[in-house]
């Protein structure tokens, strides 16, 4: 990818982010309810209300309001949460790491599971085994994370209680974390008991998020692998006496990856979006769970901050994938 192409792609991302900001602004302005009235509650004097109105520019026109809002946004001022009476940016900083760890772990699991299914399917191609793999994958494709999560709740928390049902770790755990990335930090600091506790809390939500993505990875990767296995360079390697498994892992996989990665990126944004409801089901303290409470409490500043955070994450993922695919694919590199 040339520098100009990279810059063009960055500009597109910036325009999209601006568009997201506009949509969030419009959505929240058409929402019923007076934001000021919610902010200070009953018993406020007329003068107080007028002063707050002026401060947030609500006495100005809609376009002026937008630019006042945008200015604050750029300065990092996302306002104050009405229901939690706390700085929105601070709340995001506190909760976002939990969501990032959840989504990141789910991505890794999805790639591992999906990759394994694809390789098994490729090895079993044109045999009865392929139909079994495809059938299982078809089922994975059809079932959304919401259903997986609740099925896991029934099976692994009620019928055979092996995993804890809610939270990020046991409340009894007493460890001074320097960051909010509890999973990573406990691993880096070799606190394996804490790490294991966090992993067992994350198992069900991570699997629920990962399985639908794994199915998509498996299908795309399997198609690409089978196509690659028919290429001349694989034939050459086969003539040299390499085993089928080695052919897949050492020859075909490298060439099948870029196409898979491109698709995985887009689908990963759906996984990140899925954290909202999955965090809710498992009472996991991330921004998705907080988002639902914010909506139920009509906490407009908080809703706005969370939606923007998700939007920025989505745009960043798409951008990163586009750049990575361009970097991996020699045919596009000089495009």
């Amino acid at each position: 990818m040339s520098l100009a192409a990279v810059l063009r792609r960055l500009a597109t991302a910036a325009v999209t982010l601006f568009g997201v900001a506009v949509v969030v602004f419009v959505l929240l302005r058409v929402a019923p309810g007076d934001p000021i009235a919610m902010m200070i509650g009953p018993g406020a004097s007329e003068a107080d209300i007028a002063a707050l109105r002026a401060r947030y520019g609500l006495d100005q026109g809609l376009v002026t309001q937008f630019f006042i809002w945008l200015q604050g946004l750029i300065a990092g001022d996302l306002g104050t949460s009405i229901s939690l009476r706390s700085d929105v940016l601070g709340l995001l900083g506190q909760r976002l790491p939990a969501t990032l760890e959840l989504a990141g772990a789910a991505l890794v699991v999805a790639l591992l599971v999906g990759g394994t299914i694809a390789i098994l399917g490729t090895l079993a191609r044109r045999s009865p085994g392929e139909a079994v793999v495809d059938g299982a994958n078809g089922l994975l494709l059809a079932v959304p994370d919401f259903i997986w999560a609740l099925a896991f709740v029934l099976v692994f928390a009620v019928f055979i209680p092996v995993f804890p049902l809610t939270g990020r770790m046991d409340p009894t755990i007493d460890m001074d974390f320097a960051t909010r990335f509890f999973l990573l930090e406990s691993l880096v600091r070799a606190e394996f008991a804490v790490f294991g506790n966090i992993v067992s809390h994350m198992t069900m939500p991570v699997l629920a998020l990962a399985l639908p993505l794994a199915a998509i990875v498996a299908r795309v990767l399997k198609g690409a692998l089978i196509e690659a296995m028919g290429q001349d360079y694989v034939l050459l390697a086969r003539l040299k006496g390499k085993s089928e498994l080695r052919l897949v892992l050492q020859e075909a996989l490298r060439n099948a990856l870029p196409a898979t990665l491109a698709l995985t990126g887009v689908q990963f944004t759906f996984l990140v979006g899925g954290t909202v409801i999955i965090e809710r089901i498992f009472a996991y303290p991330g921004i998705g769970n907080m988002a639902i409470d914010a909506v139920i409490n009509r906490d407009l500043p908080l809703i706005q901050g969370i939606v923007l955070a998700f939007g920025a994450m989505f745009i960043a993922i798409n951008l990163a994938v586009d750049l990575a695919v361009a970097a991996l694919n020699p045919r596009l590199r000089h495009g």
């Binding site: 299908r219 139920i296 998700f310 745009i315």
Partner: protein
């Protein structure tokens, strides 16, 4: 979910892409549909479910809202301590789970039908226009889709319902506002692909107007993909409604929904697993059915595969 719709199934080969009327007449459509096992099985299940939903007052053994605290948390009929007549047990308010399940199908299917159809119309019109006229229209539509895709769908639906206000129409509007992009992206790509085919170029050479080609040539060839997508979207709509009911933002609580039952079952999971398991099973089978129907339809209607 629906974004998983395989693109490789689209007719790629220019020589085989345009199904002539003669080909289509060779074998009647219904025979192709019946030959596809998944269409038959999934279609039969969904038809049965629709009948159950329509005739719910006659089929349901009890009033789904009738509470009887004396009969709360009864287990299903096969478990110890069950009460005859309560096949799937009762919830914590003593309401009959089976009857609530049957009435819940009404909300699920209404949302599936209306939301998927409206989203399909909105998305396809924009997708057809963008893919056929390109230029400024395409630029505007594509940018809009990009912005839309930057929102997490679940969060956006919750947000929209919070703004519009809870209730069935709000749920449907929210699904349409969010999911039109699925149709728009696929139809736009399909239209662009069809536009490059020989039969379109031929039609232009003969002197058909652009609009006539769009409606008479492109639309019928995009239709198979569209029909399959609508079926998949119905499955998604059922899930979205269940999610909104789950967080308490769908229809009011005096109307039983699968999502509402799931939320309730999640609360009392350690006392009565069946309150969660029953609606979850229905949701699973129904979503699977819409999915398989969509896949089967795509295969059966694919002009290349049909020969």
């Amino acid at each position: 979910m629906a974004d998983a719709l395989p693109r490789e199934s689209a007719p790629l080969d220019a020589a085989t892409a345009a199904p002539s009327l003669a080909q289509r007449a060779r074998r009647p459509l219904w025979r192709d549909l019946l030959a596809e096992k998944r269409v038959v099985i999934a279609g039969s299940y969904l038809a049965l479910l629709a009948l159950v939903a329509i005739f719910a007052p006659w089929i349901a053994p009890r009033d789904p809202l009738e509470q009887d605290l004396m009969l709360s948390l009864l287990p299903p009929a096969w478990a110890a301590g069950a009460e005859p007549g309560y096949w799937l047990g009762t919830d914590d308010l003593g309401r009959d789970v089976l009857s609530r399940l049957i009435y819940g199908a009404r909300v699920a299917l209404t949302v599936a039908l209306v939301a998927a159809t409206l989203a399909a119309i909105l998305g396809s019109v924009l997708g057809l226009l963008a893919g056929w006229y390109r230029g400024l229209v395409d630029g505007a539509v594509s940018r809009l889709v990009d912005i839309w895709m930057a929102f997490p769908p679940v969060l956006l639906s919750i947000l929209l319902v919070a703004i519009i206000g809870a209730g069935l129409p709000a749920v449907i509007i929210a699904i349409v506002i969010i999911d039109w992009t699925r149709f728009c992206r696929v139809v736009r790509a399909e239209t662009m692909q069809q536009a490059a085919q020989d039969y379109v170029i031929a039609a232009r050479t003969i002197g058909f107007s652009r609009r006539a080609i769009l409606i008479r040539e492109i639309l019928p060839n995009v239709a198979p993909v569209l029909v399959a997508l609508v079926s998949l979207e119905m499955g998604i709509a059922v899930i979205v409604e269940a999610i909104l009911s789950f967080v308490g933002l769908s229809v009011s609580s005096d109307m039983p929904t699968w999502g509402g039952m799931i939320a309730q079952g999640r609360q009392i999971i350690h006392h009565a697993w069946w309150v969660l398991a029953a609606p979850l099973a229905m949701l699973f089978v129904t979503v699977l059915a819409f999915n398989q129907l969509g896949d089967g339809l795509r295969r059966a209607l694919d002009p290349v595969a049909r020969r």
